[in-house]
Symmetry: none
Subunit: 200 residues, 4 copies
DNA sequence: TATGAATGAGCTTTCATTCAT
DNA sequence: CATGAATGAAAGCTCATTCAT
């Protein structure tokens, strides 16, 4: 990519990245249309390729950027000393919603990337995944297993929670007003329920 | 579609449908490549269109067929009188795994269809959805709410379970041997855990 | 072509030729669909190719056959001794309508062939044209120039008449009942008018 | 269609339209090949569709444009007050030859359109025909019937003339040099002859 | 920096032709 | 003699990418 991208006004940078995330999130790498992106971002075709060389280059950059961005949000929202599983989950949820306030499609974009099947797309994200995985694993290692019932181990509950928050986000209609607030609220409700179910 | 499709050897019909389901499931309607399908099914380009007229026609047929197929499996596996939530879930899981033994991608295909955004694709599946939704709702109405803890109502647990089984299936690597057995096993484990968590 | 075609029942031969003429006449060589032909003739795809090897072979055969057929009709209808231009024209018109009673699209087929632009098609009809051209020229040579006004020479009137009868036929709706009778009638009217206009 | 087409250099616009008219005129809508058009016009496949969306869109645009173009030529060449049938015919002939100097295939294109049988093609030209038909009918109403012989009424002569000029144009070889001059000359000769034949 | 006209490889679809039955 | 399932080259059309301005 062309580093001069960062010399653009922040607002324009975000318009471009937001548009691209949305299109990639909705259509997946292969079917994502650069035409749609430039229309959404109100820029010209040429400019997109001036900064990112290729659709693949753009995809790789966005994935990298999104991962850095959510990592920073994790660092801001997740407290070092906290060990309670559900308190940590609430902090991570806050990190995600904060991120989505800036880039509404960032989580869907990253999750769509997780399910990407296109070989080209996979080739540019493979190595980058490591950083974020490590971050979440570091948090996972802090989980206090004590309050969990014997037969509801933290690993299982953690997986369940991930599936739930992911499935729930996919269902939310992003065209509705306050969709983000509704996601936050609904997610907290699921968190509460699962806490009651899995703590002694 | 051309009804003569059903005059083909059953093995060939299944080869074609299986290949198409796989490609649609992996790529979504828009990016699904008919070239990939015919390569997977070992048939020629022309033959696919001889039977299904268009990619859209094929998609509509497959959706319809898949829905009928899984409906039959539900009727075979789910007993009329059963009311226990988790016993019913186990029966439904058996229906799905039976179906997947025949058409490994049938569940992913149907779930990808649920998230389809392409307007053309939506136009041919919209009306057909009703039948299966009704079937699952009829089952849902039988759920015995009694054994559930007050603060873990069936509806919530049912949603959670759906998200879990769906998310888990998406993660499984279908290239691995015995993936189906591993899915069945893993799913049953999640079911067990959730039962223990939500029953009094 | 396969000579065994002539061993078929005459009715079937005519059904096949009639269907092919119609499709070629309506669509021209290139766009003529063999599928349409076999549907119209109620025969199978394979049979058509069994007898004619290729679309081009069929086209060449039909052109040849049509030319022979109309030549015979000319010999039956056009009297050897007649020299009056308009009487000869009436006889030729009778030859055409007789032919069209058997093969409704024979004239349109031959005229469409005249305007054919497809190089392949042209290659198989080029040499065959000679026979019929010669026949009409032999008739043309008999024309008695005497009754014509000085400034309306027979060559010019002959061309005009050809254009008129051709243009008129193209306009007639072949789906209408009695279209052939209406063509005959209209053509005779044009003949009458032109006679009055060009004879002293 | 994409209105930006008109921002192209006039020469390029005409190259594209001329090529498309030629191919449509020669092959009819269905068999007309877009590949042939772009080769003739020396542009790429994509560009044609960038401006006209589809073959059908291009066809509709060309028909519309051609009709407007020839209408303007009629307005420039046909004098308001003239009522003599043959003088008006000569003016209309001038309009057509002027138009053909710019777009050699414009008349053949429009006449091929008149005989179009493809349902899709018909659907986009049906409503547009009205304008030009009206224009020629307005001219037809001015014809002075007085000089015509009783038994050669204007309507009949008018039909004859139309068939003649049309059939003659179809026969002319457009690859020959000066074909347009030869058409003009030949047409005038036919006009002269018919005048002498039908005027008292 | 920014544009969008232009390209051509690749996709869906059609259709003449083949061949096992 | 007769069928129609099967093929694959070629057609219409899309879209990432380039480049002159």
């Amino acid at each position: 990519m062309n580093e001069k991208f960062f010399d653009l006004r922040k607002e324009k940078q975000d318009r471009i990245m937001g548009a691209a995330m949305e299109v990639f999130a909705k259509s997946g790498y292969a079917h994502a249309s650069t035409d749609e992106m430039v229309k959404l971002a109100h820029i010209s075709k040429g400019l997109l390729f001036h900064y990112f060389t290729s659709k693949l280059g753009l995809y790789g950059f966005l994935y990298d950027y999104s991962l850095r961005f959510i990592s920073l949000e994790f660092q801001r929202n997740v407290t070092e000393k906290e060990t309670d599983f559900f308190k940590l989950q609430i902090q991570m949820l806050a990190a995600w919603t904060d991120a989505m306030r800036q880039y509404p499609y960032i989580r869907l974009f990253l999750m769509q990337a997780e399910e990407e099947t296109d070989p080209e797309a996979l080739s540019v994200i493979a190595e980058k995944r490591a950083g974020f995985t490590e971050l979440t694993q570091q948090i996972a290692e802090r989980y206090d297993r004590a309050p969990f019932k014997e037969d509801a181990p933290v690993e299982l509950v953690s997986n369940i929670l991930w599936y739930v928050l992911t499935g729930f986000l996919a269902e939310i209609d992003k065209k509705e007003e306050n969709w983000l607030a509704r996601y936050e609220e609904g997610s907290l409700a699921y968190l509460e329920t699962l806490k009651r179910m899995s703590y002694r």
